[in-house]
């Protein structure tokens, strides 16, 4: 789901200015021509590390995102919702697999990535550190969080790294139904009984702030944005993705006569930009560093799953097995 690549921390990597200038120039020229970089091509250390981190965090976001979404599978109301939610959450797991695979082509093993998730070293999208209290929360996530992820994914699918670009194209195709399903759920709640409407409005009120954090801090405080955009790792700035999402979805929310808890939110017709109350970035930092409502539970669940599965994996591993980096 989430793949913005923005963080507060700089990555430890070789300074691009210390790379071989001829190789660097050829690499940058290739990107300039719109050609994809494939796994065995020469690439700057920073490009490789930044991509690994970005793709890895995207993968972690998918597998963790499956948890609050999955909360409502056993309680989905009716066959249509039950089947759809099963398929949707399964897709999130599938996307994690696709993304881990893409990151593996850059030289980090899946074991190492899982280790880093469980130890807290690698991050995942902060929005999943919040609880899905009701069915309406599930609908919110399926529609609007997925919508946010899609804005990022569509943009980044045009990025320079072949395997990531291919994975994202595949993900975008599968996500099409997620968005429509989520919107369908929200429409039913918003146009339904008074209790259903209240449940949806209540969920919106709670999820609005985390959703504004979703796109990441304003670019002027994001590390590496400039070089990442030059190397087509990051295709849209955080501000641009936020604007795109607001433009596409706020009218749809208002169309259902639902309100949003930001009195300042409106589109400036002259500039064409949405104006809003600046999200609390200190809160974002606190939550992403472990102090959110569900951080501990999310990681505990993943640890439990990994541990309980260990005997299975060990039992089927053949003695002749060999690890080799995947090809594409």
């Amino acid at each position: 789901m989430y793949g913005g690549g923005n963080t507060f921390e700089k990555i430890k990597a070789k300074d691009p200015q210390e790379e071989d200038p001829i190789l660097l120039a050829a690499f940058e020229a290739r990107i300039e021509r719109g050609e994809k970089i494939e796994p065995t091509d020469w690439m700057p250390d920073l490009y490789r590390r930044q991509l690994i981190r970005m793709i890895e965090q995207h993968a972690h976001s998918e597998i963790i995102g499956a948890l609050p979404e999955g909360t409502w599978i056993t309680r989905a109301p009716g066959f249509k919702r039950k089947l759809a939610l099963m398929a949707k959450v399964q897709d999130e797991v599938g996307h994690a697999q696709l993304l881990y695979s893409a990151a593996e082509t850059l030289g980090k093993s899946r074991e190492a990535m899982i280790d880093d998730l469980l130890s807290g070293k690698s991050k995942y999208s902060n929005i999943f550190n919040y609880p899905a209290y009701t069915w309406a929360d599930s609908a919110f996530i399926s529609w609007l969080v997925d919508a946010g992820a899609i804005v990022n994914q569509v943009a980044n699918s045009k990025g320079s790294y072949g395997p990531y670009s291919r994975a994202l194209e595949r993900i975008c195709i599968e996500e099409a139904f997620h968005l429509k399903y989520g919107h369908h759920c929200v429409i039913h709640l918003a146009t339904g009984t008074p209790d259903q409407r209240n449940m949806m409005q209540e969920a919106l009120n709670r999820w609005w702030a985390p959703m504004q954090h979703f796109f990441g801090p304003p670019d002027k405080v994001s590390a590496h944005t400039e070089v990442l955009m030059k190397w087509k790792v990051k295709m849209l700035s955080n501000d641009d993705t936020r604007q795109q999402w607001l433009d596409m979805y706020v009218p749809k929310i208002w169309e259902l006569d639902l309100t949003l808890p930001d009195k300042k939110l409106h589109k400036n017709e002259e500039t064409g930009k949405w104006e809003y109350t600046e999200p609390d970035w200190e809160e974002f930092k606190r939550v992403i560093n472990g102090d959110g409502p569900c951080n501990a539970e999310r990681i505990a669940v993943r640890k439990t799953a990994e541990e309980r599965g260990r005997w299975v994996r060990k039992a089927i591993l053949s003695k002749e097995a060999n690890y080799v980096q995947p090809l594409a």
């Binding site: 909360t71 399903y181 918003a190 990994e306 060999n322 594409a328």
Partner: protein, 202 residues
């Protein structure tokens, strides 16, 4: 931090008891297998990605769900990653085959050849050749295939290393087209919105 676990599944597990022991050894997640899919009869097998699996047979079972869950499929091949020989990459108008020599011997084992014609696109099956090793296979391919379009990268692997789905296996995809609950078109909400707005404006 909220104390209450909301998911009834996790309420049934003792999730906070887990003490993760880091899997510092490789292969906890099993080795990787490259997956090739035939989208429909008459098209060519093309590379889709990998699965982690203990062997080819399970790789096929996993690949079926990971790579043909949403689109119809007529066949799947899997092969363990180390069994694929990868040629150099050439630059745009130049073909890998330009520097490959003509074969001087006949081959005795079947190899599958896959071509990448454009960076960013998946490798596609180009055909089989009889050869004695991977380099020889490239030579035979040059002699036997139509390589008028430049080929940027070639994968070569012994046919015997692949798992290939059979004709009988095709029925596993029979019901796929009916699973419309996985399609965007199954979720039309416009009528409901309009009815709601009509009620509101009355």
């Amino acid at each position: 931090m909220i104390k209450e676990i909301l998911d009834p599944r996790f309420k049934r597990l003792d999730v906070f008891k887990a003490q993760h022991i880091a899997p510092t050894q490789l292969l906890d997640q099993l080795p990787t297998f490259e997956v090739f899919v035939l989208l429909r009869e008459g098209s060519k097998f093309q590379h889709e990605g990998i699965v982690h699996a203990p062997d080819n047979e399970m790789a096929f079972l996993f690949a079926k769900e990971q790579y043909s869950r949403r689109q119809m499929c007529a066949g799947i091949w899997t092969i363990e990653t180390p069994n694929i020989f990868v040629s150099d990459y050439s630059e745009n108008k130049i073909s890998i085959y330009d520097t490959v020599e003509v074969p001087s011997t006949k081959g005795s084992e079947e190899y599958k050849i896959f071509h990448m014609l454009k960076r960013g696109k998946q490798h596609k099956f180009a055909g089989t050749v009889m050869a004695n090793n991977e380099e020889h296979a490239l030579q035979v391919a040059k002699a036997e295939f139509d390589i008028s379009k430049p080929v940027l990268n070639v994968w070569v692997a012994k046919s015997s290393d692949f798992y290939e789905s059979t004709d009988e296996d095709k029925e596993i995809w029979n019901t796929l087209p009916e699973k419309t609950f996985r399609e965007a078109t199954d979720y039309k909400g416009q009528a409901k919105i309009e009815a709601f707005l009509a009620r509101k404006n009355r």
